[in-house]
C-alpha cells in the first residue's frame, strides 16, 4: 500500500546546522498493516511521517501509495490517499466552524469541491451515527463550534475526520502525546477500533513503548534517520519492553540503563 524507497531528507543543507533527518530509508507497508514507530528524539520518526504526508519535498528517493507515485505531489494533492491526525489537537479541526461543517470538509477530502451545498441533510444522519461510535455525546452537538470542545474531544473528532472517507493510508503522529493519560487511553482505544474495523493501513508514531508493543501488527524502531529494528508477526506479539530495550542497546551500541532515549 505504501512504498517508501530510499528517501533522504536533509534540513538546513550546506549550513553548520545541517542535519540528515532521514537517510536513504526504505519501508514497505502491505495493505492492512498497522505499524507503530518508535525512536528517540531526532531519530527521524516525524520526518518520515511528514515526508509521506508531503509536508515538504524529499531530497531523494521515491514514495508511492497504492501504486501511485506521489513524490512530486504537495500535501493537499496527496489528501485523496491520506488521513492524518496531528500531535497538536488544535491542528486537526477548524475551531470557528461547526462540528458538522468540519465533518463535511473531511467527507470531501481529496475530492473536487464544486458549487453544491457544503453539507446535505442525509449527511447529518451519517455524522450522527459516526459520532455515536465515539461515545462522547457529540452526536447532539453538530452545530457547536469545534473550538469550544476539549482537546481530547477535538482529537477524537480529528480521528473520525481522518477515517470518515476511507483513507488508503492513516498517519498518526504521536496523536495522544498532548492529552492527559485517561483521555489518551480513550483516544488510543478509538484509534485501534477504527483501524481494525476499516482494516486501515496505518503508520503510528508513539513515544510510549508499551503502546507500540501492544498496538498494531508490526513495530519499527528508528535511530539516526534509519530503521534499525523491524518486528512483525508472532515475534511482535511476544515482544516485551525489556527485550526491546536490549535489542536497541545491542544494535545502536548504546548501553542504556533506562528507557529515556526511547521515551523522550
Amino acid at each position: 500500500m505504501l512504498r517508501v524507497e530510499e528517501i533522504t531528507k536533509i534540513f538546513n543543507p550546506g549550513t553548520i546546522n545541517e542535519k540528515v533527518a532521514v537517510d536513504k530509508l526504505s519501508l514497505h507497508l502491505a495493505p492492512g498493516e498497522f505499524v507503530t514507530v518508535i525512536g528517540g528524539n531526532g531519530a527521524g520518526k516525524s520526518t518520515l511521517l511528514n515526508a509521506v504526508a508531503g509536508t515538504w519535498p524529499v531530497d531523494g528517493g521515491r514514495i508511492t501509495i497504492d501504486g501511485n507515485d506521489v513524490t512530486a505531489l504537495a500535501d493537499f494533492q496527496r489528501a485523496p490517499y491520506i488521513g492524518r491526525v496531528f500531535q497538536d489537537p488544535m491542528l486537526g479541526t477548524a475551531p470557528d466552524m461547526w462540528l458538522e461543517e468540519n465533518l463535511a470538509l473531511a467527507l470531501r477530502r481529496g475530492q473536487k469541491r464544486g458549487i453544491k451545498w457544503g453539507i446535505s441533510k442525509e449527511e447529518r444522519v451519517f455524522y450522527r451515527e459516526r459520532l455515536e461510535t465515539l461515545g462522547l455525546g457529540l452526536e447532539d452537538r453538530l452545530s457547536t463550534k469545534v473550538g469550544l470542545l476539549s482537546g481530547g474531544q477535538r482529537q477524537a473528532i480529528t480521528l473520525l475526520m481522518a477515517t470518515l472517507k476511507q483513507p488508503k493510508l492513516l498517519l498518526l503522529d504521536e496523536h495522544t502525546a498532548a492529552l492527559d493519560p485517561a483521555t489518551a487511553e480513550k483516544v488510543l482505544e478509538l484509534s485501534d477500533n477504527m483501524i481494525s474495523e476499516g482494516n486501515l493501513t496505518t503508520l503510528m508514531i508513539t513515544h510510549n513503548m508499551k503502546d507500540a508493543i501492544r498496538l498494531g501488527n508490526r513495530l519499527i524502531m528508528m535511530n539516526q534517520g534509519k530503521i534499525i529494528l523491524d518486528i512483525s508477526g508472532e515475534e511482535k506479539k511476544h515482544l516485551t519492553k525489556q527485550e526491546l530495550l536490549d535489542r536497541f542497546a545491542e544494535i545502536s551500541g548504546v548501553q542504556e540503563e533506562t528507557d529515556s532515549v526511547l521515551l523522550s
Binding site: 493537499f76 494533492q77 489528501a79 485523496p80 477548524a94 475551531p95 470538509l105 470531501r108 457544503g118 475526520m161
Partner: protein, 321 residues
C-alpha cells in the same frame, strides 16, 4: 457656547441623513469585501485602497465613453478581481507577506488609476446621463431603494457562496490552514480567490461611489480600508449586542452593511456638530482602534499579571474582602 448651539440646524441634519444612508449602503459593499479577507481569510489586505479608486476610475471612464452605468459596475468588478488576483499572486506564488503584497498592489494601482483616467480626476455630467445611483437630492430615496435591493441580492449571493463546497473550503482556509491542506484544499488558490473576490466587491463599491458623487478621483480610495474595517467592527459589535449568540452568515453580512450605514450616519452627525472635516480620518482611525482593542482589553481585565498581582495582594491582607 450658546451661539454654537443656535447655529445647529436640526432640519439640516434630517436633510443630510438620506445621503448618509445611501453612502453607507455603497460603502457597505466595500465593507463586505473587507470582511471576506480580514475576518474570513484572516488576512489584512491593503490593496483595497487602490482597487476602490480603480473601480471608480473604470466606471467613470466607461460612462464618459457612452456605456450604460450599471454595466460599468461589472467591468469595475472584473478590474477589482484582477487587482486582487495580483495581490494573491504576490502573496501565494511569490511568498511576499500579505500586508506587503497589498501595499505593493495599492501603489501600483495608483499609477494604473492615473493611466485609466489620464489625470487625477474625471467627472461626469450628472444631469445628462441616466444615472440610477445619484446624490441628486430629488432622487435620493430612489437611489437608496435601488442600493438596498442591490445589496440584498449581493448578500444573498455571498451567503450562498459561503455555503457551497468551495465556500466552505474558503472559510476553512482562513480558520485552519494546516487542516485544510490535509483535507485536500489548495489553500493558495483559496487565498487567491478570496483576495480577488474581495477586491472585486471593493472596486464595484468604488464604481458606485463615483457614480453617486459624479466623479472619480485618484485619491478616493485613500483610507478606504479603515472605513471598511470601521463598518466591520461596528457591525459586529451591534450584532453581538443584539443577539448574544452565534448567528448565521446572512445575519453577519447584514450587520456589516448596517455597520457601514451607522458609520455614515455618525459621520453626518459629527459633521453637523461642526467637527472639522479634515479631522474625520483621524476620528475614524481612533474609532476603529478602540473597537479593535475592546475585546482584547476586556479579556485583560481578568486575565493579566496586574490582575493576578492584585489578587495576590488581597490574599496578603487577609483575603476576606
Amino acid at each position: 457656547m450658546a451661539s454654537y448651539f443656535a447655529s445647529l440646524n436640526f432640519e439640516a441634519l434630517l436633510r443630510a441623513c438620506p445621503g448618509g444612508i445611501a453612502q453607507g449602503l455603497i460603502w457597505g459593499i466595500m465593507a463586505l469585501g473587507v470582511y471576506f479577507t480580514f475576518r474570513i481569510l484572516d488576512l489584512a489586505d491593503l490593496s483595497v485602497d487602490g482597487s476602490f479608486a480603480t473601480g471608480g476610475a473604470v466606471s467613470i471612464m466607461l460612462i464618459l465613453n457612452g456605456w450604460n452605468p450599471e454595466l460599468t459596475l461589472i467591468i469595475a468588478f472584473i478590474a477589482g478581481l484582477l487587482a486582487g488576483a495580483i495581490t494573491g499572486f504576490l502573496h501565494t506564488k511569490l511568498g511576499i507577506p500579505a500586508i506587503l503584497a497589498g501595499i505593493l498592489t495599492q501603489i501600483a494601482l495608483y499609477s494604473i488609476n492615473l493611466n485609466i483616467m489620464g489625470k487625477a480626476n474625471q467627472a461626469i455630467n450628472v444631469g445628462q446621463t441616466s444615472l440610477r445611483i445619484t446624490s441628486n437630492v430629488d432622487l435620493i430615496w430612489r437611489t437608496i431603494l435601488i442600493m438596498f435591493i442591490g445589496v440584498i441580492i449581493l448578500m444573498g449571493l455571498l451567503y450562498r457562496f459561503l455555503g457551497i463546497e468551495i465556500g466552505c473550503a474558503f472559510r476553512a482556509t482562513g480558520n485552519n490552514d494546516v487542516m485544510s491542506r490535509s483535507l485536500g484544499i489548495n489553500t493558495d488558490h483559496m487565498k487567491l480567490l478570496g483576495l480577488a473576490l474581495s477586491n472585486g466587491l471593493v472596486a464595484m463599491s468604488g464604481g458606485l461611489l463615483a457614480q453617486y458623487q459624479g466623479f472619480a478621483d485618484v485619491n478616493m480610495g485613500r483610507g478606504a480600508i479603515v472605513i471598511g474595517l470601521a463598518a466591520v467592527v461596528i457591525g459586529e459589535v451591534i450584532c453581538e449586542a443584539i443577539y448574544h449568540r452565534q448567528v448565521s452568515y446572512f445575519h453577519r453580512l447584514s450587520f456589516i452593511v448596517i455597520g457601514s450605514i451607522v458609520y455614515y450616519l455618525v459621520y453626518v452627525l459629527v459633521l453637523w456638530l461642526k467637527f472639522p472635516a479634515n479631522d474625520m480620518k483621524l476620528l475614524t482611525a481612533v474609532v476603529v482602534a478602540i473597537f479593535l482593542a475592546v475585546p482584547y482589553l476586556k479579556n485583560k481585565r481578568t486575565n493579566s499579571f496586574r490582575y493576578a498581582g492584585n489578587m495576590a495582594k488581597k490574599m496578603e491582607n487577609g483575603g476576606e474582602e
